[in-house]
């Protein structure tokens, strides 16, 4: 899992310009299922089965900056995409969507810095309006945990990628969707859900370490968040799978951050939706920290659900 996660961390893909990471995933996944992109740009992988339709989703995009204006003297003004703290970017090297590097500087001072104060120093080469920028990839590994840029955004990709590669049996008609524009209020998941119209959905993503929810203490099953109260039938299934596999899980209720599930739940005639997460320390900083074991446990849980059928009440 680690080596693929590391590769995923290295791929650009700020909201709206997810091309590089989606292309990489598509190449990896063409052998495991039928692959397509929808109009929004979501990447869908379909593994046909005779059973009910299950959709697993994870967002692929990163928060970041977009060039809005080029200035004389080799600088560029930017706007921000997604929830980010402008001051965290000041003085950092960013990688542009077209591959060059730039340094973020600020006309403001200290932590009062606003998004409007940020600008790019382009001594490394010119950029074009519309190009996006994200922290240059960082990776720091210890025995217990991984520190990486945008771990919260890309951990879910590696969980679902691993799942698809490991998956053997299972009767579910499975759709795995890598969604775009997750950082912009989960804009991609709604159209994907309407296209797939599943009987059940589980969203997979990172969540902020807060309160009792901590990284290293097992996968997080969200009962509710700002945008959704998750379906009990799905949550129960995840909990049954955890019990069967002897995995410790954490239950979260009332996280401030809204997960993607709220974007799937009300679609079409309504979709039974659950939310599986892994806790991330130093949320949205240039080096987010999470436990590799939590992420592996997420894959194990999903695999158990898919292969061992805890889907009695949906039959």
């Amino acid at each position: 899992m680690k080596s693929e996660l590391k590769q995923l961390i290295g791929l650009p893909g700020v909201s709206g310009t997810e091309g590089p990471v989606l292309d990489w995933l598509q190449e990896k996944l063409e052998s495991v299922g039928e692959v397509c992109r929808d109009a929004m740009g979501n990447l869908l992988v379909h593994r046909k089965g005779s059973g009910k339709k299950l959709m697993l989703t994870t967002p692929v995009d990163l928060p970041g900056l977009m060039v809005t204006q080029l200035e004389d003297g080799g600088t560029a003004r930017v706007g921000t995409l997604g929830p980010l703290e402008p001051w965290m970017y000041v003085g950092r090297t960013v990688t542009m969507s077209e591959g060059s590097q730039a340094v973020v500087r600020s006309h403001g001072s200290g932590s009062n810095c606003r998004a409007e104060d940020l600008y790019l120093d382009l001594s490394d080469g010119p950029v074009a309006i519309g190009e996006t920028a994200s922290f240059s990839p960082a990776w720091h590994e210890t025995a217990e945990s991984i520190g990486a840029s945008y771990l919260s955004a890309r951990g879910g990709c590696s969980i679902l990628l691993r799942l698809l590669q490991n998956l053997k049996a299972g009767s579910w008609d499975l759709y795995v969707v890598f969604t775009v524009q997750g950082q912009l209020g989960n804009r991609g998941i709604g159209p994907a859900s309407y296209g797939v119209q599943p009987d059940m959905a589980i969203t997979v993503e990172g969540c902020k370490e807060e309160g009792a929810i901590q990284s290293g203490k097992g996968p997080v099953v969200a009962l509710l968040d700002r945008r959704a109260i998750y379906s009990k039938s799905v949550t129960d299934k995840i909990r049954q799978a955890a019990a069967a596999k002897n995995l410790t899980i954490q239950l979260s209720a009332g996280q401030r951050e809204a997960g993607g599930g709220g974007g799937a739940l009300p679609i079409g005639g309504g979709i039974s939706t659950g939310s599986l997460r892994f806790a991330v320390k130093d949320w949205h900083s240039p080096l987010e920290v999470a436990s590799i074991r939590d992420m592996e446990a997420c894959t194990t849980l999903l695999q158990a659900i898919l292969e061992e059928r805890y889907d009695t009440e949906l039959d």
Partner: protein
């Protein structure tokens, strides 16, 4: 086309009361439309046959509604209390003329006399709760003979032609789009195309969702008026876009990431046709694309906007040449879309 746009601007169409705009469009489009319907939300949907059948369903969209006011109550003295419909710039509406309801009862937006204000009040922008609409009534009863709470109020249409190809009037956002679409609808098209004239954009893109959900297009072009902010003291990075510099093709705004492939296609068409264009230099605002992109299974969206100064005020200013270039760009884009296999 400019005359059509100005005629459209003169009509009343505050969000939720788009009737007179829709009626005008129906009357004008009828001889050219192959299918026409008003959906449950009030969107006007028109299909026009082209030379060929459409390779992919394409929708052009513009919103019919404009910002305005809503009458809330009447005071004992016969003054009307109101709320804004949509994001009205409240710094500029004091003293402006307004017509209320379908009977177009004239009124003027009033405020406490200046010599009764405190020094502090003179330095701050008054809240809408401190303003009132004066229709000349002396008592509550008299006022209620002419207007009712729940009536809409629309800014008085008083257009003036300024220099440098610019025009000042109300509701350029988005009668510019309506006028451009109406003009295109009357011309021969390369393939069957849907035109959606939507309702309630100014209060959260509420109409467009239903229009897109009903038609399920593959591609949508949203023709809009967008805030210019090029006048003083805006400088450098504060400028958003500039009237007279051509169609605005945004990468992103506050509500939508536009489809990059569709945007590149439009840029290519503009380049090949020698049409100048600009982009939005700030990620702000929003268009009906927000709803259209995410309705149903989703669709690819691009916006082609006209830069408008003083956007949500009774005196918005736009450039005629921009409007003509938008129409030209869209017409050429449709022609070239036909040859395009992949977007």
């Amino acid at each position: 086309m400019v005359e059509t746009i100005l005629t459209l601007c003169r009509l009343s169409g505050v969000s939720g009361w788009e009737d007179s705009v829709r009626e005008y469009l129906i009357k004008e489009a009828e001889p050219y439309a192959d299918e026409m319907r008003t959906d449950a939300s009030g969107n006007l949907l028109i299909r026009k046959q082209g030379r060929k059948r459409a390779k992919r369903e394409v929708m052009l969209a513009a919103h019919m509604d404009e910002v305005g006011i809503l009458i809330k109550s009447v005071t004992q003295e016969g003054f009307l209390r109101f709320a804004f419909v949509g994001g009205v710039d409240q710094r500029v509406i004091i003293g402006k003329k307004v017509y209320v309801g379908e009977n177009r009862i004239p009124g003027v937006i009033g405020l406490k006399p200046i010599h009764l204000t405190s020094a502090k009040e003179r330095k701050t922008i008054p809240e809408v709760s401190q303003m009132y609409l004066d229709i000349g009534a002396n008592t509550k009863e008299e006022a209620l003979r002419w207007v009712r709470p729940g009536d809409f109020g629309v800014f008085a249409p008083e257009e003036i032609i300024l220099g440098g190809n610019t025009v000042c009037c109300k509701a350029l956002d988005d009668r510019v789009g309506c006028g451009i679409l109406l003009t295109m609808l009357k011309e021969q098209l390369p393939f069957d195309t849907w035109f959606a004239f939507t309702v309630q954009e100014e209060i959260g893109c509420r109409g467009a969702f239903g229009a897109a959900f009903g038609l399920q297009p593959e591609l949508a072009f949203i023709v809009e008026g967008t805030t210019a902010a090029d006048a003083p003291p805006a400088s450098g990075s504060e400028k958003v876009c500039i009237p007279g510099n051509g169609p605005v093709l945004p990468f992103a705004d506050g509500a939508t990431m536009y489809d990059r492939s569709l945007l590149q296609f439009l840029q290519k068409v503009a380049r090949e046709e020698g049409i100048p264009w600009q982009t939005k230099m700030r990620i702000a605002g929003g268009t009906d694309a927000r709803a259209i992109q995410r309705a149903g299974k989703g669709c690819k969206v691009a916006a082609v906007s006209a830069a408008i100064r003083y956007l949500h005020s009774p005196s918005s200013v736009g450039n005629i040449r921009d409007w003509e270039l938008i129409k030209q760009l869209l017409s050429k884009a449709l022609e070239k879309l036909e040859e395009q296999d992949e977007i």
